[in-house]
């Protein structure tokens, strides 16, 4: 099984999965919260928040990586603080790659979840309130179950983005085998190395396969959820 990929290549695959999983898992609760706030609340600074969330989508990834370096680098205000107080380091570590992936994937997650929240009829939430449910209960028992398809779609998008993130990652945490060298960065290195073409091709095929698998799984789950909500007896 392992002979068609070198140990270094497996390392890149494992690292990519780990980075994408952590990036997705950590950004998910924040993403749902921000999406809910943008969809349902009117507060000062809402437009600013909307723009900030979407900036990574529009800015050159290099700029996002550079800003992360300034903020979360060991010399940066946030990075320095986390390093001193909690011993959490982002610079040139896989955690940094996960952070870069999470930031780049965040707008995809928020957009998908926000759209599904906006599709939930607030009248259902009102109905739950008249039946005695508090805001938290309404969210957990009415809103959340109804936006599961949107959350799944957003999660898959975020995960795929995390697996494929390149520009911000290489700018922020460089290309270090075993720490920050995810599949895209390994492909990039292979392409720059004489005779690395076959290695690049193998990793590219694997990349496509992982993305297709993730999409298929999410489609299947979404269809099951949609069928349940649509009223067919489960």
């Amino acid at each position: 099984m392992t002979d068609w990929l070198t140990a270094a290549e497996w390392e890149a695959v494992r690292l990519s999965l780990r980075v994408a999983l952590w990036a997705t898992a950590v950004s998910l609760p924040f993403g749902i919260f921000v999406a809910y706030a943008l969809a349902r609340w009117r507060f000062p600074g809402r437009e600013v928040l909307n723009i900030v969330v979407h900036l990574p989508l529009i800015m050159p990834p290099v700029v996002t990586g550079y800003l992360l370096l300034l903020t979360f680098g060991t010399q940066g205000p946030v990075g320095g603080f986390l390093d001193r107080v909690f011993g959490v380091t982002f610079a040139f570590r896989w955690t940094g790659a996960a952070l870069a992936s999470g930031v780049m994937a965040f707008p995809f997650l928020v957009r998908a979840v926000r759209l599904s929240i906006e599709a939930v009829d607030p009248k259902l939430e009102e109905a739950a309130a008249t039946l005695g449910a508090t805001r938290t209960w309404i969210f957990l028992t009415v809103t959340l179950p109804l936006i599961v398809p949107g959350i799944l779609a957003g999660t898959v998008l975020a995960f795929a983005k995390g697996m494929g993130e390149f520009g911000a990652t290489i700018t922020f945490v460089s290309n270090i085998p075993g720490q920050t060298q995810t599949i895209p960065l390994a492909i990039d290195l292979a392409l720059e190395t004489p005779g690395g073409g076959a290695r690049a091709a193998r990793l590219a095929v694997l990349s496509v396969a992982l993305a297709a698998l993730a999409l298929a799984v999410s489609e299947w789950v979404s269809r099951r959820v949609a069928a349940r909500i649509g009223g067919r007896d489960a």
């Binding site: 009248k123 008249t130 039946l131 005695g132 449910a133 508090t134 909500i229 649509g230």
Partner: protein, 362 residues
């Protein structure tokens, strides 16, 4: 008992009402835009009125003067919405039980089995709302509101989205609700037939103000109360079944006056509410003779109210109760109608529509 006083600026008009809803079913009756839904939403806590006070059985839900506004989840109202608003991702059973877990532990609650039986939804429990018909959804919505152990039930035009056949299917459930549930019910409607059949008391609204309030027969017998237009006007008579005749007619008695209707499948002595549409009544100064109509009620003109067109609404006090008749102004003048004049109201028995005959006490 529910006491409501509200003042609220709304787009296009100002809501300024004060009324009381005693036990039983109180209908907020008025055209669309009269402020009915705004009132119900204020009672449910789904809106915040600028000024007002709402007290349900001594519990203050809203008092802007004292800075009290209970959020909807603490008001304990069972709200039956026009569109049902069932939770699409839950089975009927989970929809029904949703509210129960939030009700305080010691409150008396409806028995699930009894409610399911009363509404005839036993076969639907494991289905989801998407697989239900409009009428079934509305029955589940009634059950869901009821099982939340509410201290007050609100219904906002719960039949408006249904076709005539479904309306006829749901109306009896609201009658049972009115007769079997002890909490007050506030029911919004602009349909005169529903009001006639369901209301124990009526609050007639016009342009955000209370036109008249009181017992149903009294309010609907007032020719000034025509929220649904003169065409829809009609009075309510309270009768009971006197005897069944062999020729297929049922004899009712209202205030000592006999009334004949096509066969009603009710036992002798059973109470019946009749609604007599104003356009189904003919007036005569003399006791008519040789007429095919069976139902003739002698009475005294109480009030004449000219309408916008050539019509005039005549309110007639009879031994059976207040009857409204809509005739032309020309006839009224020719007959010399004025308050105090003795008349006979002629109602063709077949013109009492079956849909307007409801069981139950007034």
């Amino acid at each position: 008992m529910l006491e409501v006083a509200l003042k609220q600026d709304l787009p296009g008009f100002t809501l300024d009402v004060a009324f009381e809803a005693p036990a039983g079913l109180t209908v907020l009756f008025g055209r669309s835009g009269a402020g009915k839904t705004s009132i119900v939403n204020a009672v449910a806590g789904l809106s915040r009125p600028q000024a007002g006070r709402i007290v349900a059985d001594g519990r203050v839900l809203l008092d802007t003067g004292a800075g009290i506004w209970l959020p909807p989840h603490r008001r304990r109202v069972g709200y039956i919405f026009q569109e049902g608003r069932l939770f699409p991702h839950m089975t009927v059973r989970r929809n029904l039980t949703y509210g129960a877990r939030f009700a305080p532990a010691h409150t008396p609650r409806e028995d699930m089995a009894r409610v399911v039986e009363m509404l005839g939804i036993g076969a639907l429990l494991d289905r989801r709302p998407g697989a239900l018909s409009g009428g079934e959804k509305q029955r589940v919505a009634i059950g869901r509101a009821l099982l939340a152990a509410p201290q007050l039930i609100l219904a906002d035009e719960p039949l408006a989205a249904l076709d005539e056949a479904r309306k006829a299917e749901i109306l009896p459930y609201f009658e049972r609700l009115r007769d079997e549930v002890s909490v007050p019910i506030l029911y919004v409607s602009h349909a005169a037939t529903e009001v006639g059949r369901l209301a124990t008391s009526v609050v007639a609204l016009k342009d955000g103000r209370v036109l008249r309030q009181g017992p149903a027969a009294e309010v609907l017998g007032d020719p000034a109360v025509l929220p649904a237009g003169a065409r829809e006007a009609g009075a309510i008579l309270v009768a009971h079944v006197a005897r069944q005749h062999a020729d297929g007619l049922t004899e009712l008695e209202a205030g000592g006056v006999p009334l004949f209707l096509p066969r009603l499948d009710l036992a002798e002595g059973a109470p019946v509410r009749l609604r007599i549409a104003a356009h189904d009544v003919i007036l005569s100064r003399h006791k008519p003779d040789g007429l095919s109509a069976l139902n003739i009620l002698p009475g005294i003109v109480a009030e004449l109210r000219p309408g916008a067109g050539p019509g005039v609404m005549v309110a007639l006090d009879t031994a059976a109760g207040r009857v409204l008749a809509r005739i032309t102004e020309r006839s009224a003048t020719a007959m010399g109608l004025a308050p105090g004049v003795a008349l006979h109201a002629i109602v063709k028995s077949v013109s009492v529509a079956p849909g307007d005959v409801g069981g139950g006490p007034a």
